[in-house]
């Protein structure tokens, strides 16, 4: 059994690594991709380009425009004469936000009358639009609060009392990633996706390549048992995957400053379980498909939903109720959760037991299904 297993593994490794391009694809490509894509992920909405249309041109209107663009939320990128020009810019998608300060703004403010500004928002990028809208609302709200405060101070002064200014202050404190660095959040997701692609594509091609070339018949007439064949066809890719995992986590820590706070052994163990599921799915695709093209399409058909349902790009809580249970079936979700929890939060195995059990379950289920299918084919 062991000799046969070693023979299959050696054959599989030789056949795959004989092609030098494959070696590069399995080692350098994931690292390069992580480097490239790690810099791409940035959802922070800051310094939204904003055009000001100041129709009023008074010191008051200028003060408002300066006040709005003083913080991190907006960056003034241009000035146009009137609301019409601003509307044209926003509707052509040339600028996401335009603020129109109408004529008479300064005069009304001097008279103590309520004033209004118009904010034109390109809703095409809904994320940015919501953030910008909230920033404007907060600006208006803080102005209102500041005015109420001045009134209270005035009243207190006329009555000769100490002013009472009740205020609610909810101080946010962000744990694990205090600066909310997007890279620290996304690098584990990118890493898990790269591992999925590398191990799934290679293992799904393994058996089908033999089917296409007609060499599977030769293997089947040899005394190799189906279990040996299955393990021998997946273990080499699992080893490659583990090497990649080390490279990718190392790069994440070194280049992107992703902290490694938890146990590397726990990560290694979780990585093995994750590989069990990705290789299991690859093997399943390989058993069902007749050609390499079919196996490749099946693999991609698994990869895409597995990644997008994992909460890697947008949180699972945002999904509709009927879809959320489905995300439990993607190994990427469990592995990304483990990666983030171990790397950032120093979580223990018992705190992550749900994720570890789910990964093990998925791996065992896919392996036994493909073992069953392959055995049926053999007899």
């Amino acid at each position: 059994m062991l000799t046969a297993l070693r023979a299959v593994i050696v054959k599989e490794l030789r056949q795959t690594l004989r092609d030098k391009r494959m070696v590069a694809l399995l080692t350098i490509a994931p690292v390069l991709q992580l480097l490239l894509l790690g810099f791409a992920v940035n959802l922070d909405v800051e310094r939204v380009p904003t055009v000001i249309a100041d129709e009023d041109r008074t010191p008051e209107s200028r003060r408002l425009a300066d006040g709005l663009t003083a913080g991190d939320a907006f960056t003034r990128t241009g000035t146009v004469a009137d609301g019409k020009a601003a509307t044209r810019l926003v509707s052509r998608g040339e600028v996401p936000i335009a603020v129109v300060i109408p004529k008479g703004f300064g005069r009304r403010q001097r008279l103590g009358k309520p004033v209004a500004i118009q904010v034109l928002v390109d809703g095409g990028d809904s994320n940015r639009a919501i953030v910008a809208q909230n920033a404007i609302a907060a600006f208006a709200m803080s102005q209102a609060a500041a005015e109420a405060e001045t009134q209270i101070l005035q009243i207190a002064a006329t009555r000769g009392q100490a002013p009472a200014i009740p205020r609610v202050n909810v101080e946010p404190r962000v744990l694990y990633n205090p600066t909310l660095n997007s890279k620290i959040y996304f690098v584990p997701g990118v890493a898990a996706t790269l591992l999925l692609i590398v191990t799934l594509i290679t293992s799904s091609g393994g058996l089908t390549r033999e089917k296409e070339m007609g060499t599977l018949e030769q293997v089947l007439v040899s005394p190799i048992r189906p279990e040996t064949l299955i393990i021998g066809k997946t273990l080499p890719y699992g080893l490659i995957g583990l090497v990649d995992m080390g490279l990718v986590i190392g790069m994440g820590a070194w280049v992107f400053g992703v902290p490694i706070r938890g146990s590397l052994w726990l990560l290694f163990f979780a990585g093995c379980l994750y590989m069990l599921t990705t290789l299991g799915v690859g093997l399943l695709a390989s058993t069902i498909a007749k050609t390499q093209q079919q196996a490749f399409i099946a693999a991609m058909f698994f990869i895409m939903p597995a990644v997008l349902l994992s909460g890697f790009v947008t949180p699972v809580e945002n999904m509709p109720a009927w879809l959320r249970p489905l995300s439990g079936f993607t190994p990427v979700r469990h592995f990304v959760e483990i990666l983030r929890a171990v790397l950032l939060k120093d979580a223990s195995a018992s705190e992550l037991s749900a994720q570890l059990v789910a990964l093990a379950g998925l791996g065992i289920a896919t392996y036994s299904t493909s073992a069953y299918l392959l055995r049926r084919r053999l007899t």
């Binding site: 490509a29 991709q33 894509l37 810099f39 791409a40 992920v41 926003v90 052509r92 309520p114 004033v115 209004a116 500004i117 118009q118 904010v119 809703g123 095409g124 809904s126 907060a138 709200m141 102005q143 609060a145 109420a148 209270i152 002013p163 009472a164 200014i165 009740p166 205020r167 609610v168 202050n169 909810v170 101080e171 946010p172 404190r173 694990y176 620290i184 959040y185 296409e212 070339m213 390499q292 093209q293 079919q294 490749f296 399409i297 058909f301 990869i303 895409m304 349902l309 790009v313 947008t314 949180p315 809580e317 945002n318 999904m319 879809l323 929890a341 950032l344 939060k345 979580a347 992550l352």
Partner: protein
């Protein structure tokens, strides 16, 4: 000359159609896959943050503290999953993903507010989930502001707000993220299915030895490539139309622009992506390597560099250069322009030009790299 090219390319196309017909499972898969993917993705990918699991640590137990909790949960952004007495227990809940935020209201909160001084509370956030944390952060400051304003107004009496900001949202008045994301999803799905369709075709012929037979005929390199392209182009058009029709009807994506421009830009994009697949096939000559290259060069770059989720403007400049070499980037941009903003040629011409350029460059490179030898 041209006539000969067309006749021979059509002959190759005919042969490829027979290949496709012989494998009905793959064909069926190719037609069903985009629909399934669009259905799952359209609902799965959403920025509309809701139901953030919140732990309440209310050490104050006054009406004022309860009002603050109600303010947090009022809009549905947070949902209370647990009550605790000790803030130290919060981290355990964070580590096991049971909660992502914790509102800590210390003793004396209500008393400070009653005395007319500042009352402090704390919102702990799980920074390992960036998206949720940053939304919660904004929400927390909005709640603080609103609560303070309400307290102040309770003293001075209700007055008309002195500064009103009237927001007018163009193209997406309800600010649904699906309207922003679905055009991008369409692009990602089309990238995948187009490259998947062609990445293996030529490599397969090399592997199975039929390329040798093809080279024994007088068919030229360009003719093989165009012949291989044609059937997948028509198959791709069916997929494009399905994805566009379904995306628009299911997810309320408006069609404000001209359907003809939409069709034109989709055709050019499809050609560029099919050509990318063919180039991979020509260069790698091995299905295993081709599938790796295809998977690596399409999914993640289309997802992360196309501007589908992450705005290209936010990227550092070297990456903006890389993103400029992604056909998906131009397609996402022009889809949004035509669908949402109703723009026409005056806005999308650079994208159309870029995509056409891509197709032509890839066609030339693939033809040049396509060697009439099998060794």
């Amino acid at each position: 000359m041209l006539k000969r090219l067309i006749v021979r390319a059509l002959a190759i196309a005919h042969k490829e159609v027979m290949h496709i017909q012989r494998d009905p499972q793959t064909l069926g898969f190719a037609l069903v896959m985009p629909i399934v993917l669009l259905l799952i993705f359209g609902y799965a990918v959403s920025f509309d943050v809701e139901r953030i699991p919140l732990v309440v640590v209310d050490q104050d137990r006054t009406p004022a503290a309860r009002v603050l909790v109600d303010k947090f949960t009022a809009s549905g952004t947070f949902r209370v999953v647990a009550q605790r007495q000790d803030p130290a227990e919060v981290e355990t809940l964070f580590r096991s993903y049971s909660a992502k935020a914790a509102l800590v209201i210390p003793k004396g909160f209500g008393r400070s507010l009653g005395r007319g001084t500042q009352a402090d509370a704390q919102l702990l956030l799980d920074g390992a989930d960036n998206t949720t944390a940053s939304i919660a952060l904004g929400y927390a400051s909005a709640v603080s502001l609103a609560a303070s304003r309400d307290e102040l107004l309770a003293i001075v009496g209700e007055v008309e707000p002195s500064l009103a900001a009237r927001t007018r949202v163009f193209f997406n008045p309800t600010l649904q993220s699906s309207i922003f994301l679905v055009p991008g999803l369409m692009a990602v799905i089309l990238v995948m299915i187009a490259v998947m369709a062609t990445a293996m075709t030529i490599a397969r012929e090399y592997e199975q030895g039929s390329m040798e037979q093809l080279f024994a005929t007088p068919v030229g390199r360009l003719e093989v490539i165009l012949g291989k392209l044609l059937p997948y182009f028509f198959l791709g058009l069916v997929q494009v139309l399905m994805v566009l029709a379904l995306g628009v009807t299911l997810f309320d994506v408006p069609v404000n622009g001209s359907l003809w421009w939409l069709f034109a830009v989709s055709c050019v994009f499809l050609l560029a992506m099919l050509m990318q697949g063919l180039l991979i096939s020509v260069v790698t000559r091995s299905q295993m390597v081709a599938s790796m290259v295809a998977a690596m060069s399409t999914f993640m770059p289309a997802l992360l560099l196309s501007g589908f989720v992450f705005p290209v403007e936010n990227m550092p400049w070297p990456l903006q250069v890389v993103a400029a070499a992604m056909p998906a980037r131009y397609f996402v941009r022009s889809l949004r322009a035509v669908l949402l903003r109703g723009n026409g040629l005056e806005v999308i011409w650079p994208d159309l030009l870029a995509l056409t350029g891509f197709f032509l460059v890839l066609l030339v490179v693939a033809t040049k790299r396509f060697k009439r030898s099998v060794a």
